[in-house]
């Protein structure tokens, strides 16, 4: 199938539906649940709409429609959805305590990453992280607002002048992942991308000690 092939990781290096970390996996799972629920509700509403043109003997108690359909039905569904979202949301956020912190400084059409507390030198356009461990990215900007997003590792966060925002990401397995700037930032916005290399433990130790990756 067309869609299925599009969703596989290799064809879609930026796909949020080909997760490679706990946050992205949890959100992808949430998406599939919500999609199924939404399809069900859509089918129900459109079914009721179609039937209204067909049915002949009509009984339409006002209360059932307005209280049942309009109030109880959405409140029940929304409560379930919110509960699921909060549970998933809490679970999906990797523990920030114990996470190592790296710094990402965005500017018009560059990304510079630095690794305080390690021996590694700052890198441009490529963020190095250890695989299998939560990493908190402290986001700052030198000029306008940008947004740090690695779809396969989950979630995005804005870098706003004067503020430092933190986003915790985690890659389950070593590999190269692609990231981009999600907040419109001027004429170079579409080119404002970067990559994330998640290293296996030994490789990471070498990088953190100041070795060339």
């Amino acid at each position: 199938m067309f869609i299925a092939s599009a969703l596989s990781g290799c064809d879609a290096p930026l796909s949020a539906l080909a997760p490679a970390g706990p946050t992205a996996s949890a959100i992808a799972e949430l998406w599939w649940i919500m999609l199924a629920g939404a399809a069900g509700i859509l089918a129900l509403v459109l079914g009721l709409l179609a039937l209204s043109f067909r049915r002949r003997s009509r009984t339409a108690p006002e209360r059932l429609w307005l209280i049942g359909g309009g109030i109880i039905f959405p409140i029940t569904l929304l409560t379930a959805l919110l509960a699921a979202a909060i549970v998933l949301g809490e679970r999906s956020i990797p523990a920030r305590a114990g996470a190592m912190e790296v710094e990402a400084e965005s500017s018009q059409y560059r990304w510079r990453f630095s690794y305080p507390g390690t021996g590694a030198l700052p890198t441009d356009e490529t963020l190095h992280i250890p695989a299998g461990r939560p990493v908190t990215v402290a986001l700052s900007t030198k000029d306008v607002i940008h947004s740090f997003w690695v779809p396969r590792l989950g979630g995005k966060m804005d870098a706003i002048p004067g503020h430092v925002n933190r986003l915790t990401i985690q890659a389950s397995v070593p590999g190269t992942y692609f990231g981009l700037c999600a907040e419109y930032c001027g004429v170079g916005h579409s080119r404002h991308g970067f990559q994330v290399i998640a290293h296996a433990p030994a490789e990471w130790r070498a990088f953190a000690a100041g070795g060339r990756p």
Binding site: F2, A6, L7, D11, A12, P13, L14, S15, A16, L17, I27, L30, W31, M34, V45, L46, L48, L49, S52, R58, E62, L64, W65, L66, G68, G69, G70, I71, F73, P74, L78, L81, L82, A85, G89, D143, V144, I145, S147, P151, G154, G155, K156, D158, I160, P161, G162, H163, N165, L180, C181, A182, E183, Y184, C185, G186, V187, H189, S190, R191
Partner: protein, 816 residues
Amino acid sequence: MKALRLHRELSAIWGAPPGWRGTISTVNHSDIGRRLILAAFAFFAIGGVLAMLIRAQLATPRSAFIGPEIYNQLFTMHGSIMMFLFAIPMFEGLAMYMLPKLLGTRDLAFPRLSAYGWWCYLFGGSLLILSLLLGVAPDSGWFMYTPLSSKPYSPGINADFWLLGITFVEISAIAAAVEISVSILRVRAPGMSLDRMPLFAWYLLATALMMLIGFPPLILGSILLELERAFGWPFFDTARGGDPLLWQHLFWLFGHPEVYIIFIPAAGVVSTVLPVMARTPILGYRIIVASVLALAFLSFGLWVHHMFTVGIPHMALAFFSAASTLVAVPTGVQIFAWLGTLWAGRPQMKLPMLYLIGFFVTFVMGGLTGVMVAVVPFDWQAHDTAFVTAHLHYVLVGGFVFPMLAGAYYWLPHFTGRQRTFRLGEAAFWLIFIGFHLTFFLLHLAGLLGQPRRIESYPEAAGWTWINLISSVGGFVMAIGFALFAIDIALQLFLARRAPRNPWGAGTLEWAMMTPPAPYNIASLPRVGSREPVYGEPDLANELARGEGYLGAARNGWRETLAVDLKGQIRHIIVLPSNTRLPICTALATGCFFVALLLKLYWLAPFAVALVALLGWRWAWVLGRCEDLGLLPIGRGETAPTHAEADDPPGWLGSGFLLLADATLFGSLLFGQVFLIVVAPNWRSDHMVVGSWLVIAIAAAAALLAGALARSADMRVERAIPGHLLLAATLAVSQWQAPAPSGSAAGALVGMLNGYGLLHIAIALLMLVFVCFRHRAGFLSAARSSEPRIARLWSDYAAGVGVVVALASQLPALLR
């Protein structure tokens, strides 16, 4: 024969002179409404062409069609045009045209105000289109995030076009909101209590009140950003104690309600058209009214919903997430009320119903994806991607364009008096419907595959190519559909056969008049006893045409209509102003002000302001009379005073609503001050005003003095002038001692506060002096006291503002 004579007499009073004189002087609601609708459609076509260029660019990866410089202007202008120049004016036009007819009356409460709003919209909108033609259109995105839109990163005139042009256009939105609220609450047919109003009026009342509270934060934000760009007042500059997040809060305080401001009137069209198509009264009138009011209220709690990725504390996210999903409940009530109505009736698949089906399918899908993006973890992935582009088009095209198309075909026989002969409407529907879903359905997926918004180029390897190609093809199919719709309407205007009156068998009063309607709407006003007064009264239209209702005779060449209270009891006769060139002149003077700022001819701006004040004076002066008329007959053996002798004239209520909007703007400014003190990373407390209890005490005393003097005997409110002068002097001295506004956000805020206070004192003084002159000229008496009452309202507001300004500028330092 009596009907024909009455028709001639009333047409002479309410019509506009032929030719260009009539064009520039008409204030009739049907003329203004039609113009707004046509102009909005023209802007829609321009916005559509921009969308086609965007889709052409995105159809292939690494497209070399247009570069980012032009592309950024295209998507910024597409969004801005569709939101500000199409959607809002389109429903304003429909409201202005339809409301008096649905409410069984002859015009809106303030005809000159709607004409002024129309000209402001036309001039402001043209200014924006001009920027596009000159190649210097705004290019910071339609939500204009700072600092990208600030001077260092947008040094050109582009952003100024947006800030000044949109603010100019917003004047028309505020004017329309005041007009619509007062007209619905005051100007209806006798006997039409609020719970007998057509549902459409309820929806518009909710919308108008939302506009009065929703637009001021944006207007304030635009003023602050323009002050920063033009004079360096650093409200959003982190280095000098400002914060770009303040812009986002102000923008979305407006921007989220805006979506509902666009949806609610369209839902009103659905609630009007759908029961007629189903041949049954709508299910649950009162629950629908309650759900509309709840929706209007809840929509103000949601603005942070657009800011889930800016680093908001966790608990706040949970709250806004819950609030965002909660709006689904009143929306659900309406969806099920419509479904229940269809089940209770015998629906017919006529053309308006077909477009309503398009609305159901599309809008429900948009609502469901809306619930998804309200869920915070999911929004972290979907935010700022093509998923959101798809979602918002489902909501706006589904929730606004389809209902409006249904309304267009439903009311077209009323606009033109003709019936359809060609079957182009069905073909247009299928092209628009299929084209729309082809364009946007798969964009949801593109977003999840990582396609961000607002990119002009993407790599082949990203895997988005096939989706974008399908989307572009769909976009062109949809465009052909809209072109066919326009052709269909044009054919109907010129070629079709006459339609019978009330072709759909509807029950509301707009069908109890001749079509196309005469400039006076109805020759006499009915007494309304039910929600659908046309049902069961087949002769109502003829009775009204013969002048057998209220005001069924021409008198003194006056444009007369009736004011009623909430229960529908007659309060007084409103004598409306006739055609005049004041609205266009005032709009031109207002335009001079905006153009002066745009071209940085700052010396010219005060002259433009003085000209506006002068015209405003004239505006009020030409009304009124020098003798008491007492009670006048209004037909059916009843009598009523004119509005000049009434104790609750429409002007007072209108001023009240305008002040509500004004107070919201002021409240947003105070919010901005607290926000910057608490959040801005480099807030300079050493740059605050030193703080003096004396300033506060003198301001309070001056305000109390003004309030007390305005209440002295015989409505001589002008006695309050000394109080205002003292208050103005206090604020001026306090500003004199304050730090320079360009030095820090703290100084800029104090400058803005004092400027706001002084401006309102100046307005109050102008009104008080006006009343003084009116006393001398003999326009006022014990009975004719509405003008002093209105002036006192503004005087009290200015006095209150003066005290709050003194508190807000002095207290932060005193409390530190």
